[in-house]
């Protein structure tokens, strides 16, 4: 990262307000309640995707606001997305192995 790059993106002095932090906390509490409520409803096969989606939304707002990625240099976002891509590779390649084996029993 050149001097110019981090001069241009002034992140180190960005102060997120207390109000924002409390709002994020409130949102996380609401989503936690929603997770529990949803678990007791019968959405059939959709229960798992819904639970995962709520957890993903919670993780995203923690990352963006508590972890300040929204005000961080773009490089941080690239590293974060890169790690998710690698996690995806881990899942896709390993599943493509396990799910295509002709095993009746492990």
């Amino acid at each position: 990262m050149s001097d110019q790059a981090y001069e241009k993106e002034d992140f180190s002095h960005h102060v997120t307000s207390q109000g924002t932090y409390f709002a994020i906390f409130a949102a996380l509490m609401v989503l936690t309640a929603l997770t529990v409520w949803v678990a007791f409803q019968d959405f059939g096969a959709m229960n798992v995707p819904i639970a995962f989606a709520i957890a993903a939304v919670k993780a995203t707002i923690v990352i963006l606001f508590f972890m300040h990625v929204i005000h961080s240099p773009k490089l941080t976002g690239v590293i974060l997305i890169g790690s998710i891509v690698f996690l995806g590779i881990l899942f896709v390649l390993t599943f493509s192995d396990y799910l295509t084996r002709l095993w009746s029993m492990v």
Binding site: Y21, I24, A39, T76, I79
Partner: protein
């Protein structure tokens, strides 16, 4: 240029950085790289969970995971979720108070974080104790009182449960150690709006551990709880 000269004499500035801004950028970036390795460290456990719960290797595991999760205490799991998210709030506010030079408030936020972290571990311990008493710890003493054909899958659920929550709890213990150190430095007045990168990067670690739990809670406690009878 004058700002640069001031920075050059800042006691917290390490000699291999041009200025505090660069030092801050390098510090947070380094922490993010570490968190990438952490994501891939937890990743295989999440994969193994998905593989077994899907029932694609052994179809009975799908039902076994539901039955096994019915032995989980949702109230304690929910309490711990709230405690951990609250601790993330206190960490985030700690960064805010460091940035705004409110040193006393920073110390209080760090103390509250430590209390939340310890509370989480105590509740986790109560849960583990319940599992031990019900012979749900995997191994020779594992005893499954439900349908016998689900015993193998139920034991697999508890293997994953103890591995995932155990690794998470280990991260909590390390996090508490880190925050004790940050608290000591905060009480020594080490931090200022110019220099608070240790608070920031420790916070990143703490939030990461929180995010892991955000995923673990529905995975381990909330698998079709309505079907419990």
């Amino acid at each position: 240029m004058s700002e640069h000269a001031v920075n050059a004499h800042h006691p917290a500035l390490r000699h291999h950085f041009d200025d505090l801004k660069q030092q801050h950028a390098a510090g947070t970036l380094g922490m993010w790289f570490f968190l990438v390795t952490e994501i891939l460290f937890f990743g295989p456990l999440f994969f193994t969970y998905a593989l077994f719960r899907s029932g694609s290797l052994d179809p009975s595991f799908h039902q076994a995971f539901i039955a096994a999760s019915h032995h989980q205490n949702i109230k304690l799991g929910l309490t711990n979720t709230i405690v951990l998210i609250a601790s993330s709030l206190t960490v985030a506010l700690g960064v805010y108070f460091a940035q705004t030079n409110k040193k006393k408030a920073l110390v209080w936020m760090l103390v509250l974080t430590l209390i939340c972290g310890a509370t989480f571990l105590v509740i986790k311990g109560i849960e583990y104790n319940e599992h031990f008493e019900h012979h749900l710890f995997p191994g020779d003493n594992f005893h499954w009182e439900g349908a016998p054909e689900l015993a193998r899958g139920a034991q697999m659920f508890y293997i994953l449960y103890f591995c995932m929550t155990g690794l998470h709890a280990l991260h909590m213990v390390i996090g508490i150690g880190i925050f004790v150190y940050i608290l000591m430095r905060a009480m020594r007045n080490d931090f200022s709006p110019d220099y608070y990168v240790p608070v920031e990067v420790s916070g990143l670690y703490w939030h990461f551990v929180d995010i892991v739990w955000i995923f673990l809670f529905p995975m381990l406690y909330l698998i079709d709880p309505a079907s419990k009878h």
